[in-house]
């Protein structure tokens, strides 16, 4: 074995050992670079890409959810509006019914009151007439007593006067 010869290989030539070393180093480099450089960096790029994709997908999903919720709420809101309108309409109708009922009741009551008042008036009228009759009969009796100076049978007398007055009342009524 000779070391550090002062000799050179031919400029254009092939050396078997150099080729072997080239192959060995290519394999070593391939293994190391793949493990140290290409795989981890590529994985990092892919991971980040996946993360970004996930984030975008999540954001899109959230946006869709928000839109869905918004639509839902809007629908609910509009239905609530319809409902409130409905409630108001029902209440109005009920109020109208109540009003009518109250008015009707009031009418009935008033009629009843008037009727009763009329009855009372009639009774009063009758009472007053009766009183008047009594008074008239007393007066008539007094006058008659004075005229005939004799006391006649009271009951007969009353009857006489009643007949007289009722005959008069009939004519006047």
């Amino acid at each position: 074995m000779e070391l550090f010869l002062n000799e050179f290989e031919s400029f254009v030539g092939v050396n078997f050992w150099t080729m072997i070393f080239a192959w060995c180093n290519l394999i070593i480099l391939y293994v190391f670079l793949r493990k140290l450089l290409f795989k981890p960096v590529k994985k990092m790029i892919d991971d980040r890409q996946r993360e970004i994709d996930d984030m975008y997908a999540g954001a899109e999903k959230n946006e869709a959810d928000a839109a869905r919720l918004k639509a839902e709420y809007e629908e609910k809101l509009s239905s609530a509006e319809a409902e409130s309108e409905d409630i108001i309409r029902t209440a109005t109708r009920r109020a109208q019914l109540k009003e009518e009922e109250i008015l009707r009741d009031a009418g009935v009551e008033a009629a009843r009151i008037i009727e009763r008042a009329e009855e009372e008036i009639t009774l009063e009228k009758r009472r007053i007439i009766n009183e008047a009759k009594d008074e008239v009969s007393d007066i008539a009796l007094g006058i008659a007593r004075a005229v005939i100076e004799r006391d006649i049978d009271r009951a007969e007398h009353d009857k006489l006067i009643d007949d007289f007055i009722s005959g008069m009342g009939d004519g006047n009524d």
């Binding site: 290989e9 092939v14 080239a22 391939y30 140290l36 981890p40 960096v41 590529k42 990092m44």
Partner: protein
């Protein structure tokens, strides 16, 4: 003035083998071997250092590394198809090996690995091996052999020649560009040295013999931008691209691979 263009210096020679089989098998370690191991070491350390602190929120370095790795994967995806992304680490390895192997020659201490035909030939043979392996794996041995007789049987010799020519052309293209660049650089240095001597020939001989070739400062740097940086990058790219195209051709999308019942049965059994 004498200017010699040499291959890599021989560092270790196994005398017994050398006497029996000559330089191809006798010279164990050359300058190129040293560079090869150095490139491997540098790249592994760089890869380790660059990816030591990977995080979801990248720093400046990580952004650049991710950008480059992303470009690599995109390029492989565009050239070979999405189903061939598993080749991306190899393509990246060959690209980095090539470009670092070329650039290490700029130190002037180490020789470019790609300036040695052995290295580029070894890489080109790997490409050919991958093409053949994938062709046989995907289409079967018979279909691969039958492929040489297409479109007509008369074309067979030409197909075989082109199959052999592609690794040869790959190896020589890369080697030639880098080695040619180094030869040109050596020539320029020699010429500039001679020009310095001519320019300062009025100095006494004693001074002239130790006078530095000051014209060598500057001009080679600009040439180096082309011959080392640009050419090195282009050749690394071309080599990777050709590997992608050849291997990609042997690995069509899964739906285009014809069904082979024999292979399938084997897979089921396993």
């Amino acid at each position: 003035m004498k200017l010699s263009v040499n291959g890599p210096k021989i560092l270790v020679r196994i005398t017994a083998l050398y006497e029996k089989l000559g330089g191809i098998f006798g010279n164990l370690v050359t300058q190129t071997t040293v560079s090869i191991f150095l490139v491997t070491l540098i790249l592994i350390i760089a890869a380790w250092a660059l990816t030591r602190r990977l995080s979801k929120r990248p720093g400046r370095v990580q952004v650049v590394v991710e950008k480059l790795v992303g470009m690599l994967y995109n390029l492989v995806s565009d050239t070979m198809g999405k189903h061939n992304l598993k080749f991306a680490p190899y393509i990246g390895t060959i690209f980095l090996s090539s470009i670092c192997g070329t650039l290490i020659g700029m130190t002037q201490i180490f020789r470019s690995t790609t300036g040695d035909l052995s290295v580029t030939a070894a890489w080109a043979l790997v490409t050919t091996g991958m093409v053949w392996y994938n062709n046989i794996k995907n289409f079967g041995f018979k279909a691969w052999l039958r492929g040489f007789t297409e479109p007509i049987v008369v074309m067979t010799p030409m197909n075989i020649v082109s199959e052999i020519a592609s690794p040869v052309s790959m190896a020589f293209r890369h080697f030639g560009n880098v080695a040619g660049g180094s030869v040109l650089t050596a020539l320029i240095y020699g010429a500039l040295s001679a020009a310095t001597h001519a320019l300062f020939s009025w100095l006494p001989d004693a001074v002239l013999s130790v006078f530095p070739p000051i014209l060598q400062v500057g001009i080679p740097a600009f040439l180096s931008i082309y011959f080392d940086l640009f050419s090195g990058f282009v050749q690394a790219f071309v080599f990777s691209l050709l590997t992608m195209v050849y291997v990609g051709g042997a690995c069509p999308p899964p739906e285009e691979i014809p069904e082979r019942p024999r292979k399938k049965r084997k897979k089921d059994a396993a």
